[in-house]
């Protein structure tokens, strides 16, 4: 039996050598398109592949804690104490925005103006009709129908929902106390769609509906979106500049592991519902060479991946944040205590 185990271990070890070039990662679905794009380009340059399983943020956190992957990926950043407890280092890779998608007959894309607490009241079920005086007050020039609002939300646990509910919690005390922030919450009204595609299918089909999706998704599928009032009282158009503006004004050192929220940041052009997505690695990994390869990959992506990200409607991190992240990597050491990056 013992012999068999040794043999099995040797076989596993050998196959490990054969594929040592591949970096393993698992987690969030939101950055999956850009991670695979980066991986493709990286493989061409270095012949090192990336094996990324987009199983959702929760799964990514579970897998990195179980040490089955070199890095885990999550849209909802871990808190400081959780990072310390599990000996993890967290850093952002890329950013994106969440936009409210709407379907109201006669209202053109980018014309409807909403504020954060109006959105909260709609999702709380307090505002029931599109021609509610509070909505009309913001949109004096629009003809809004006397129809019930159909709110649509993500029914599966998702980083997008985390970002959206975090934003609503920031702008509406009522939302914060009744519903809160999470990857899945107890929605008081509305219908749930599974995945970005489920939400956008519902919004497209259901008249007088409102939903929320990743900007990249909304753009590629040509969903009509609404404008949202930002912290400075402006209504910027959601685009890469507006997301970058949100990142530029943020204090990235405010929370451990860069786990800050980019929601409702100051800045005249800042899009109010913006978020970064994060990677997790062990600070003292058992297999330092794997983590080293992963960090090298991210470093490459920081240097050469910005255009690829923009092509896919993601937003690269500001240069100074990238440097801060590289600085944080000094905390990742091999068993001897030597930094591996």
């Amino acid at each position: 039996m013992r012999k068999l185990l040794i043999l099995a271990a040797a076989a596993v070890g050998l196959s490990g050598v054969a594929q040592a070039a591949d970096i393993t990662g698992a987690g969030a679905t939101f950055p999956f398109p850009i991670y695979s794009k980066w991986a493709e380009a990286y493989k061409k340059e270095t012949n090192i592949g990336l094996n990324y399983q987009s199983i959702g943020s929760g799964g990514g956190i579970r897998q990195i804690k179980a040490k089955t992957v070199a890095f885990g990926a999550t849209d909802a950043p871990l808190k400081g104490e959780e990072l310390t407890k599990d000996g993890l280092i967290q850093f952002p890779t890329v950013m994106g925005g969440v936009v409210p998608a709407i379907n109201i007959a006669g209202v053109e894309p980018g014309k409807l103006k909403l504020s954060g607490d109006l959105i909260a009241e709609i999702y709380l079920g307090n505002i029931k009709k599109w021609n509610d005086p509070k909505i009309v007050a913001l949109n004096g020039d629009l003809k809004l129908p006397d129809a019930n609002i159909n709110p649509v939300y993500r029914s599966d646990g998702s980083g997008t929902t985390f970002v959206f509910t975090d934003y609503l919690s920031k702008v509406s005390p009522d939302w914060k106390s009744k519903i809160g922030t999470n990857t899945a919450v107890q929605w008081p009204v509305g219908i749930g769609g599974k995945g970005n595609e489920g939400v956008s299918a519902s919004v497209k089909q259901v008249a007088n509906s409102i939903g929320y999706v990743e900007y990249a998704y909304a753009k590629q599928n040509k969903l009509a979106h609404a404008l949202v009032k930002n912290a400075d009282g402006n209504f910027p158009a959601p685009d890469d500049k507006a997301f970058q503006a949100a990142a530029a004004n943020a204090n990235w050192n405010e929370a451990p592991g860069f786990g800050i929220s980019l929601n409702n940041q100051k800045g005249a052009q800042a899009w109010p519902i913006t978020s970064a997505t994060f990677l997790l690695v062990h600070a003292k990994p058992e297999k330092p060479e794997e983590v080293q390869a992963a960090l090298k990959f991210v470093d490459w992506a920081y240097k050469s991946g910005d255009q690829l990200a923009l092509d896919l409607d993601y937003v690269p991190l500001p240069a100074n944040v990238k440097d801060q992240v590289r600085n944080a990597w000094k905390g990742v050491t091999d068993p001897a205590g030597k930094p591996i990056f």
Binding site: I55, G157, V185, I191
Partner: protein
């Protein structure tokens, strides 16, 4: 080899070797092991469900079954809306699907002209082969919008404000998605199972029974009612239970069309959720107590299905007595 050819060459030869005892024994044991495998597998599934769900049962106790709260924020979980959703969608599926299935089966075996019989039979078998996710997509993209436009919205306008009906059939967000839609899609999904099994059973009833009934002057309806249905009764209940089993456990199609709301509503037009759809929705991102609660939901579904099968057994044994 030559012995075999000899045997074929002279099939009428009276020589017959006595069977070897060892093969019998091996065969017997092998099939016994195969049967045992099912029990072990089932016990394994049950055990993993109970162990995985135990923290949730311990935390919430009996309240897990009766509570309607599903709040990941405050780690409060209750299964009641999902249980109600599971049972009500399955019930709607049976109410819609069973009469249609029996109608199809009787028509195919008793009334259909031969040129029509074959295409319909093939179509039913094809329906059974369609993957559930295709039903879900069809339900979401084709059925739900039509249902909303031609049933939900007009109906909501009529019943709004009426007592009871105005609650049960009124839809606040007429999206076409909800408990009723899920039940109807499930009905379409179980029709092929019930219809094709019932058809096969009706086909197997000896024609002499039918002919004698016609001989003493029975009408087609009387033959179906008094000869065919009692004869095939046990099998029909078996077929319905098979369909019910699928309706209770169906995941992807329901997730697409049920509206995925973790709350209880008095209206069948409103979105809801089933046990399977909730697991499908939340399993990926679940951690800790939420994961335990989802597994506990799976455990409850297991139990519900078990109870349904027991009831089916009792029904079958009752029918047999007649």
């Amino acid at each position: 080899m030559s012995a075999v050819t000899d045997q074929f060459a002279a099939p009428s030869a009276p020589v017959r070797k006595t069977p070897k005892g060892t093969f019998d024994l091996v065969f017997r044991n092998a099939s016994f092991l195969a049967a045992l495998f099912v029990l072990v597998l089932l016990a394994g599934i049950m055990a993993s469900m109970v162990i995985g769900g135990w923290p949730a049962f311990r935390e919430f106790g009996f309240g897990f079954l009766t509570s309607s709260v599903w709040d990941t924020q405050n780690e409060q979980y209750g299964a009641w809306p999902a249980i109600v959703g599971t049972l009500s969608t399955a019930l709607i599926a049976l109410v819609v699907g069973v009469p249609l299935s029996l109608g199809i089966a009787v028509f195919l075996t008793q009334l259909a002209p031969p040129w029509f019989k074959q295409p319909v039979s093939t179509a039913i078998e094809l329906l059974a082969a369609v993957p559930s996710i295709i039903y879900g997509m069809w339900g979401l993209f084709v059925f739900a919008p039509l249902f909303a436009a031609y049933v939900q919205i007009p109906l909501s306008n009529i019943v709004e404000g009426m007592p009871i009906i105005g609650t049960v059939l009124y839809s606040r967000s007429p999206s076409g998605l909800g408990i009723l839609t899920a039940g109807i899609i499930l009905a379409f999904m179980i029709i092929p199972f019930i219809a094709s099994i019932t058809r096969d059973m009706l086909d197997q009833i000896p024609s002499v029974l039918r002919e004698s009934a016609y001989g003493i002057g029975a009408t087609t309806w009387e033959v179906v009612r008094h000869v065919l249905v009692p004869q095939a009764g046990v099998s029909i209940i078996g077929a319905i239970m098979l369909g019910l089993g699928r309706a209770l456990g169906e995941t992807m199609a329901v997730t697409f069309v049920v509206g995925n709301a973790n709350r209880l509503s008095a209206s069948v037009m409103d979105p809801g959720s089933t046990i399977a759809s909730r697991i499908a929705n939340e399993f990926n991102e679940a951690l800790g107590l939420q994961l335990n609660s989802l597994i506990a939901l799976g455990c409850i579904l297991f139990f519900v299905t078990f109870v349904v099968l027991v009831i089916a057994r009792i029904l079958v044994s009752r029918v047999k007595r007649y």
